[in-house]
Subunit: 206 residues, 2 copies
Protein backbone atom coordinates (compact mmCIF):
# COMPACT_ATOMS: atom_id res chain seq x y z
CA UNK A 1 0.00 0.00 0.00
CA UNK A 2 1.14 3.56 -0.64
CA UNK A 3 0.84 4.80 2.92
CA UNK A 4 3.43 3.44 5.40
CA UNK A 5 2.60 6.20 7.90
CA UNK A 6 4.68 9.15 6.83
CA UNK A 7 5.27 11.47 9.84
CA UNK A 8 3.08 14.55 9.83
CA UNK A 9 6.10 16.80 10.19
CA UNK A 10 7.29 15.64 6.78
CA UNK A 11 3.87 16.16 5.21
CA UNK A 12 3.79 19.68 6.65
CA UNK A 13 6.98 20.58 4.75
CA UNK A 14 5.85 19.36 1.35
CA UNK A 15 3.57 22.35 0.64
CA UNK A 16 6.55 24.62 1.38
CA UNK A 17 8.67 22.76 -1.16
CA UNK A 18 5.85 22.87 -3.69
CA UNK A 19 5.36 26.60 -3.29
CA UNK A 20 9.09 27.29 -3.70
CA UNK A 21 9.35 25.02 -6.75
CA UNK A 22 6.47 26.81 -8.46
CA UNK A 23 8.17 30.08 -7.72
CA UNK A 24 11.38 28.82 -9.32
CA UNK A 25 9.35 27.67 -12.31
CA UNK A 26 7.80 31.13 -12.61
CA UNK A 27 11.31 32.54 -12.63
CA UNK A 28 12.09 30.44 -15.69
CA UNK A 29 14.16 27.72 -14.00
CA UNK A 30 13.94 24.09 -15.14
CA UNK A 31 16.01 22.16 -12.62
CA UNK A 32 17.12 22.59 -9.02
CA UNK A 33 19.05 20.74 -6.32
CA UNK A 34 18.25 19.92 -2.70
CA UNK A 35 20.99 22.42 -1.83
CA UNK A 36 19.42 25.26 -3.81
CA UNK A 37 15.88 24.50 -2.66
CA UNK A 38 17.12 24.29 0.91
CA UNK A 39 18.52 27.81 0.81
CA UNK A 40 15.21 29.15 -0.48
CA UNK A 41 13.02 27.46 2.14
CA UNK A 42 15.48 27.52 5.02
CA UNK A 43 15.70 23.74 5.42
CA UNK A 44 18.82 21.55 5.14
CA UNK A 45 19.52 19.79 1.85
CA UNK A 46 19.79 16.45 3.66
CA UNK A 47 16.34 16.86 5.13
CA UNK A 48 14.78 17.74 1.80
CA UNK A 49 16.30 14.66 0.18
CA UNK A 50 15.16 12.49 3.06
CA UNK A 51 11.65 13.91 2.93
CA UNK A 52 11.29 13.39 -0.80
CA UNK A 53 12.78 9.91 -0.66
CA UNK A 54 9.79 8.80 1.43
CA UNK A 55 7.70 8.96 -1.72
CA UNK A 56 10.03 7.86 -4.52
CA UNK A 57 13.24 8.65 -6.36
CA UNK A 58 12.53 11.95 -8.01
CA UNK A 59 16.05 13.23 -8.67
CA UNK A 60 19.11 12.36 -10.71
CA UNK A 61 22.64 12.18 -9.38
CA UNK A 62 24.74 15.01 -10.67
CA UNK A 63 21.87 17.13 -11.97
CA UNK A 64 19.28 17.30 -9.20
CA UNK A 65 15.53 17.56 -9.72
CA UNK A 66 13.45 18.45 -12.75
CA UNK A 67 11.23 21.20 -11.38
CA UNK A 68 8.14 20.50 -13.48
CA UNK A 69 8.32 16.79 -12.70
CA UNK A 70 8.79 17.31 -8.97
CA UNK A 71 5.91 19.79 -8.89
CA UNK A 72 3.71 17.17 -10.52
CA UNK A 73 4.76 14.52 -8.00
CA UNK A 74 4.18 16.78 -5.01
CA UNK A 75 0.78 17.87 -6.30
CA UNK A 76 -0.24 14.23 -6.54
CA UNK A 77 1.15 13.33 -3.13
CA UNK A 78 -0.68 16.26 -1.54
CA UNK A 79 -3.78 15.53 -3.64
CA UNK A 80 -3.86 19.03 -5.06
CA UNK A 81 -3.60 17.92 -8.67
CA UNK A 82 -7.39 18.17 -8.36
CA UNK A 83 -9.48 21.15 -7.19
CA UNK A 84 -11.13 21.05 -3.77
CA UNK A 85 -14.28 22.99 -3.03
CA UNK A 86 -14.09 24.91 0.23
CA UNK A 87 -16.75 26.56 2.40
CA UNK A 88 -16.05 29.87 4.16
CA UNK A 89 -18.02 30.34 7.36
CA UNK A 90 -18.40 33.83 8.79
CA UNK A 91 -18.44 36.90 6.54
CA UNK A 92 -16.64 39.35 8.80
CA UNK A 93 -13.57 41.06 7.40
CA UNK A 94 -11.52 37.89 7.47
CA UNK A 95 -14.13 35.67 5.83
CA UNK A 96 -14.73 38.39 3.29
CA UNK A 97 -11.02 38.51 2.47
CA UNK A 98 -10.88 34.72 2.05
CA UNK A 99 -14.01 34.65 -0.13
CA UNK A 100 -12.33 37.09 -2.49
CA UNK A 101 -8.78 35.71 -2.21
CA UNK A 102 -7.21 35.11 -5.61
CA UNK A 103 -4.48 32.80 -4.34
CA UNK A 104 -6.43 29.55 -4.11
CA UNK A 105 -7.16 28.77 -7.74
CA UNK A 106 -3.71 27.55 -8.75
CA UNK A 107 -3.03 25.81 -5.44
CA UNK A 108 -5.83 23.25 -5.59
CA UNK A 109 -8.77 25.07 -4.00
CA UNK A 110 -11.93 26.94 -4.93
CA UNK A 111 -14.30 28.68 -2.60
CA UNK A 112 -17.73 27.24 -3.34
CA UNK A 113 -20.02 28.33 -0.50
CA UNK A 114 -19.98 31.18 1.99
CA UNK A 115 -22.11 31.51 5.12
CA UNK A 116 -23.10 34.05 7.75
CA UNK A 117 -25.88 34.25 10.32
CA UNK A 118 -26.43 38.02 10.06
CA UNK A 119 -29.73 38.77 8.26
CA UNK A 120 -28.12 41.93 6.88
CA UNK A 121 -25.49 39.83 5.12
CA UNK A 122 -27.52 36.79 4.06
CA UNK A 123 -28.36 37.08 0.37
CA UNK A 124 -25.73 39.77 -0.22
CA UNK A 125 -22.95 39.32 -2.72
CA UNK A 126 -19.35 38.77 -1.55
CA UNK A 127 -16.89 38.23 -4.36
CA UNK A 128 -18.64 35.82 -6.73
CA UNK A 129 -20.83 34.39 -4.00
CA UNK A 130 -24.22 34.97 -2.48
CA UNK A 131 -23.97 34.71 1.30
CA UNK A 132 -26.05 31.81 2.55
CA UNK A 133 -27.86 31.51 5.84
CA UNK A 134 -25.79 29.71 8.47
CA UNK A 135 -28.95 27.86 9.49
CA UNK A 136 -28.73 25.96 6.18
CA UNK A 137 -25.08 25.08 6.73
CA UNK A 138 -25.41 21.36 7.46
CA UNK A 139 -27.72 20.65 4.53
CA UNK A 140 -25.89 22.86 2.07
CA UNK A 141 -22.46 21.44 2.83
CA UNK A 142 -23.71 17.89 2.89
CA UNK A 143 -25.47 18.30 -0.47
CA UNK A 144 -22.40 19.80 -2.08
CA UNK A 145 -20.07 17.11 -0.75
CA UNK A 146 -17.66 19.76 0.53
CA UNK A 147 -15.07 18.43 2.97
CA UNK A 148 -12.94 21.52 3.59
CA UNK A 149 -13.97 24.64 5.53
CA UNK A 150 -12.38 27.89 6.61
CA UNK A 151 -13.74 29.08 9.93
CA UNK A 152 -13.89 32.86 10.44
CA UNK A 153 -16.60 33.26 13.07
CA UNK A 154 -16.13 34.88 16.50
CA UNK A 155 -14.35 32.65 19.04
CA UNK A 156 -17.50 32.60 21.15
CA UNK A 157 -19.41 30.53 18.56
CA UNK A 158 -16.50 28.74 16.89
CA UNK A 159 -16.99 25.44 18.73
CA UNK A 160 -20.70 25.15 18.00
CA UNK A 161 -20.15 26.02 14.34
CA UNK A 162 -17.35 23.43 14.24
CA UNK A 163 -19.77 20.82 15.52
CA UNK A 164 -22.14 21.69 12.67
CA UNK A 165 -19.32 21.45 10.12
CA UNK A 166 -18.37 18.02 11.41
CA UNK A 167 -22.02 16.95 11.32
CA UNK A 168 -22.13 18.16 7.71
CA UNK A 169 -19.22 15.93 6.74
CA UNK A 170 -16.35 18.41 6.80
CA UNK A 171 -13.04 16.60 7.37
CA UNK A 172 -10.57 19.48 7.58
CA UNK A 173 -10.92 22.97 9.04
CA UNK A 174 -8.67 25.98 8.59
CA UNK A 175 -9.40 27.86 11.81
CA UNK A 176 -9.01 31.63 11.98
CA UNK A 177 -10.94 31.90 15.25
CA UNK A 178 -8.70 32.45 18.28
CA UNK A 179 -9.65 29.30 20.16
CA UNK A 180 -8.64 25.64 20.35
CA UNK A 181 -11.29 23.47 18.72
CA UNK A 182 -12.41 20.08 19.90
CA UNK A 183 -13.05 17.65 17.03
CA UNK A 184 -13.55 13.90 16.69
CA UNK A 185 -10.66 11.65 15.64
CA UNK A 186 -10.09 11.81 11.91
CA UNK A 187 -11.01 15.49 11.58
CA UNK A 188 -8.04 17.80 10.98
CA UNK A 189 -7.62 21.40 12.09
CA UNK A 190 -4.96 23.93 11.13
CA UNK A 191 -4.74 27.09 13.21
CA UNK A 192 -4.06 30.56 11.80
CA UNK A 193 -4.61 32.90 14.75
CA UNK A 194 -2.59 36.05 14.02
CA UNK A 195 -2.00 36.85 17.70
CA UNK A 196 -0.49 33.41 18.25
CA UNK A 197 1.87 34.07 15.35
CA UNK A 198 2.98 37.34 16.87
CA UNK A 199 3.29 35.93 20.39
CA UNK A 200 5.60 33.22 19.05
CA UNK A 201 8.03 35.97 18.13
CA UNK A 202 7.83 38.54 20.93
CA UNK A 203 9.53 36.10 23.33
CA UNK A 204 12.73 36.66 21.36
CA UNK A 205 12.57 40.46 21.37
CA UNK A 206 14.74 42.39 23.83
Amino acid sequence: MENQMIPDIIISRLPIYLRALRHMQDMGKFTTSSQELGVVVGISAAQIRKDLSQFGEFGKQGTGYDIAFLIGQLREILKVERVWDVAVVGMGDMGHALARYQGFSDRGFRVALVFDNDPAKIGAQVGNFVVRDMHEIVGAIRNSGIRLAMLCVPAQVAQEVTDLLVEAGVKAILNYAPISLSVPAGIRVQYLDPSIGLQRMTYYMD
Copy 2:
Protein backbone atom coordinates in the same frame (compact mmCIF):
# COMPACT_ATOMS: atom_id res chain seq x y z
CA MET B 1 20.67 34.71 33.32
CA GLU B 2 17.05 34.01 32.51
CA ASN B 3 17.59 32.51 29.09
CA GLN B 4 19.27 29.06 29.04
CA MET B 5 18.16 28.51 25.42
CA ILE B 6 14.64 27.20 25.66
CA PRO B 7 13.79 25.20 22.52
CA ASP B 8 11.62 27.08 20.05
CA ILE B 9 9.09 24.26 19.96
CA ILE B 10 8.35 24.93 23.63
CA ILE B 11 8.03 28.68 23.06
CA SER B 12 5.60 28.00 20.22
CA ARG B 13 3.24 26.16 22.57
CA LEU B 14 3.11 28.84 25.26
CA PRO B 15 0.73 31.14 23.33
CA ILE B 16 -1.63 28.18 22.95
CA TYR B 17 -1.62 27.60 26.69
CA LEU B 18 -2.13 31.30 27.33
CA ARG B 19 -5.10 31.50 24.97
CA ALA B 20 -6.74 28.46 26.55
CA LEU B 21 -6.15 29.75 30.10
CA ARG B 22 -7.76 33.08 29.26
CA HIS B 23 -10.71 31.23 27.81
CA MET B 24 -11.04 29.23 31.03
CA GLN B 25 -10.86 32.48 32.98
CA ASP B 26 -13.62 33.95 30.82
CA MET B 27 -15.71 30.89 31.68
CA GLY B 28 -15.35 31.74 35.36
CA LYS B 29 -12.79 29.13 36.32
CA PHE B 30 -10.05 29.90 38.86
CA THR B 31 -7.80 26.86 38.82
CA THR B 32 -6.89 24.12 36.37
CA SER B 33 -4.56 21.13 36.07
CA SER B 34 -2.11 20.05 33.41
CA GLN B 35 -4.54 17.23 32.69
CA GLU B 36 -7.49 19.54 32.10
CA LEU B 37 -5.50 22.06 30.08
CA GLY B 38 -4.07 19.21 28.02
CA VAL B 39 -7.49 18.03 26.97
CA VAL B 40 -8.44 21.53 25.84
CA VAL B 41 -5.33 22.15 23.75
CA GLY B 42 -4.70 18.58 22.63
CA ILE B 43 -1.29 18.23 24.29
CA SER B 44 -0.27 15.68 26.92
CA ALA B 45 -0.32 16.70 30.57
CA ALA B 46 3.30 15.60 30.99
CA GLN B 47 4.40 17.86 28.18
CA ILE B 48 2.57 20.85 29.58
CA ARG B 49 4.18 20.37 32.98
CA LYS B 50 7.61 19.93 31.38
CA ASP B 51 7.15 23.04 29.26
CA LEU B 52 6.06 25.21 32.18
CA SER B 53 8.80 23.86 34.45
CA GLN B 54 11.38 25.44 32.11
CA PHE B 55 10.37 28.81 33.50
CA GLY B 56 9.56 28.20 37.16
CA GLU B 57 7.34 26.30 39.55
CA PHE B 58 3.91 27.69 38.85
CA GLY B 59 1.69 24.96 40.24
CA LYS B 60 0.81 23.31 43.54
CA GLN B 61 0.71 19.57 44.15
CA GLY B 62 -2.80 18.38 44.66
CA THR B 63 -4.54 21.48 43.33
CA GLY B 64 -2.85 22.38 40.05
CA TYR B 65 -2.41 25.90 38.68
CA ASP B 66 -4.01 29.18 39.64
CA ILE B 67 -5.28 30.42 36.28
CA ALA B 68 -4.84 34.15 36.88
CA PHE B 69 -1.32 33.64 38.21
CA LEU B 70 -0.26 31.38 35.33
CA ILE B 71 -1.71 33.83 32.81
CA GLY B 72 0.39 36.56 34.38
CA GLN B 73 3.53 34.43 34.23
CA LEU B 74 2.99 33.43 30.61
CA ARG B 75 2.30 37.02 29.58
CA GLU B 76 5.61 38.06 31.11
CA ILE B 77 7.53 35.17 29.57
CA LEU B 78 6.10 35.95 26.14
CA LYS B 79 6.56 39.68 26.75
CA VAL B 80 2.92 40.44 26.05
CA GLU B 81 2.28 42.01 29.46
CA ARG B 82 3.09 45.16 27.47
CA VAL B 83 1.50 46.37 24.19
CA TRP B 84 3.47 46.11 20.93
CA ASP B 85 2.83 48.46 18.06
CA VAL B 86 2.53 46.68 14.73
CA ALA B 87 2.66 47.91 11.14
CA VAL B 88 0.38 46.41 8.48
CA VAL B 89 1.83 46.54 4.99
CA GLY B 90 -0.50 46.15 2.01
CA MET B 91 -4.13 47.25 2.16
CA GLY B 92 -5.71 44.57 0.04
CA ASP B 93 -8.54 42.56 1.57
CA MET B 94 -6.23 40.76 3.98
CA GLY B 95 -4.41 43.88 5.18
CA HIS B 96 -7.73 45.62 5.49
CA ALA B 97 -9.04 42.79 7.67
CA LEU B 98 -5.98 42.93 9.91
CA ALA B 99 -6.11 46.71 10.23
CA ARG B 100 -9.66 46.40 11.54
CA TYR B 101 -9.17 43.20 13.54
CA GLN B 102 -10.50 43.51 17.09
CA GLY B 103 -8.59 40.53 18.46
CA PHE B 104 -5.21 42.13 19.04
CA SER B 105 -5.93 44.56 21.84
CA ASP B 106 -6.11 42.07 24.71
CA ARG B 107 -3.33 39.87 23.36
CA GLY B 108 -0.51 42.38 23.51
CA PHE B 109 -0.70 44.14 20.15
CA ARG B 110 -1.97 47.32 18.58
CA VAL B 111 -1.93 48.23 14.92
CA ALA B 112 -0.18 51.60 14.71
CA LEU B 113 0.65 52.17 11.03
CA VAL B 114 -0.77 50.88 7.76
CA PHE B 115 0.81 51.19 4.30
CA ASP B 116 -0.03 50.74 0.64
CA ASN B 117 1.56 51.88 -2.60
CA ASP B 118 -1.70 52.46 -4.50
CA PRO B 119 -2.35 56.21 -4.95
CA ALA B 120 -6.07 55.47 -4.77
CA LYS B 121 -5.61 54.06 -1.26
CA ILE B 122 -2.97 56.38 0.16
CA GLY B 123 -4.62 58.92 2.46
CA ALA B 124 -7.83 56.90 2.69
CA GLN B 125 -9.19 55.73 6.02
CA VAL B 126 -9.05 52.01 6.97
CA GLY B 127 -10.38 51.26 10.40
CA ASN B 128 -8.89 53.97 12.62
CA PHE B 129 -5.93 54.55 10.33
CA VAL B 130 -4.99 56.74 7.42
CA VAL B 131 -3.19 54.67 4.81
CA ARG B 132 0.37 55.88 4.39
CA ASP B 133 2.48 55.83 1.27
CA MET B 134 4.70 52.76 1.08
CA HIS B 135 7.49 55.01 -0.13
CA GLU B 136 7.68 56.45 3.38
CA ILE B 137 7.80 53.03 4.99
CA VAL B 138 11.43 52.98 6.14
CA GLY B 139 11.34 56.44 7.68
CA ALA B 140 7.92 56.05 9.24
CA ILE B 141 8.66 52.71 10.86
CA ARG B 142 12.07 53.79 12.03
CA ASN B 143 10.69 56.97 13.59
CA SER B 144 7.95 55.10 15.40
CA GLY B 145 10.31 52.44 16.73
CA ILE B 146 8.00 49.68 15.51
CA ARG B 147 9.59 46.26 15.45
CA LEU B 148 6.66 44.05 14.37
CA ALA B 149 5.02 43.97 10.95
CA MET B 150 2.29 42.02 9.20
CA LEU B 151 3.02 41.57 5.52
CA CYS B 152 0.01 41.42 3.20
CA VAL B 153 1.41 42.48 -0.17
CA PRO B 154 1.39 40.35 -3.34
CA ALA B 155 3.99 37.55 -3.39
CA GLN B 156 5.70 39.26 -6.31
CA VAL B 157 6.85 42.22 -4.18
CA ALA B 158 6.99 40.51 -0.76
CA GLN B 159 10.77 40.07 -0.71
CA GLU B 160 11.59 43.66 -1.64
CA VAL B 161 9.12 44.98 0.93
CA THR B 162 10.66 42.62 3.48
CA ASP B 163 14.06 44.10 2.77
CA LEU B 164 12.64 47.56 3.46
CA LEU B 165 11.06 46.37 6.72
CA VAL B 166 14.38 44.94 7.85
CA GLU B 167 16.14 48.15 6.89
CA ALA B 168 13.56 50.05 8.94
CA GLY B 169 14.38 48.01 12.05
CA VAL B 170 11.57 45.45 12.02
CA LYS B 171 12.61 42.31 13.92
CA ALA B 172 9.60 40.03 13.40
CA ILE B 173 7.28 39.59 10.43
CA LEU B 174 3.93 37.84 10.24
CA ASN B 175 3.87 36.89 6.59
CA TYR B 176 0.56 36.42 4.76
CA ALA B 177 2.19 36.49 1.32
CA PRO B 178 2.50 33.02 -0.26
CA ILE B 179 6.27 32.96 -0.54
CA SER B 180 9.30 32.01 1.57
CA LEU B 181 11.11 35.13 2.71
CA SER B 182 14.84 35.54 3.03
CA VAL B 183 15.86 37.54 6.10
CA PRO B 184 19.11 38.17 8.00
CA ALA B 185 19.91 36.18 11.14
CA GLY B 186 18.02 37.54 14.13
CA ILE B 187 14.91 38.48 12.15
CA ARG B 188 11.93 36.17 12.75
CA VAL B 189 9.18 35.23 10.33
CA GLN B 190 5.92 33.38 10.94
CA TYR B 191 4.03 32.13 7.92
CA LEU B 192 0.24 32.21 7.56
CA ASP B 193 -0.39 31.21 3.94
CA PRO B 194 -3.93 29.79 3.82
CA SER B 195 -3.18 27.47 0.89
CA ILE B 196 -0.31 25.91 2.84
CA GLY B 197 -2.70 25.29 5.71
CA LEU B 198 -5.16 23.54 3.42
CA GLN B 199 -2.48 21.54 1.60
CA ARG B 200 -1.25 20.21 4.93
CA MET B 201 -4.63 18.54 5.33
CA THR B 202 -5.58 17.32 1.85
CA TYR B 203 -2.83 14.68 1.99
CA TYR B 204 -4.93 12.86 4.59
CA MET B 205 -8.21 12.96 2.65
CA ASP B 206 -9.34 9.85 0.77
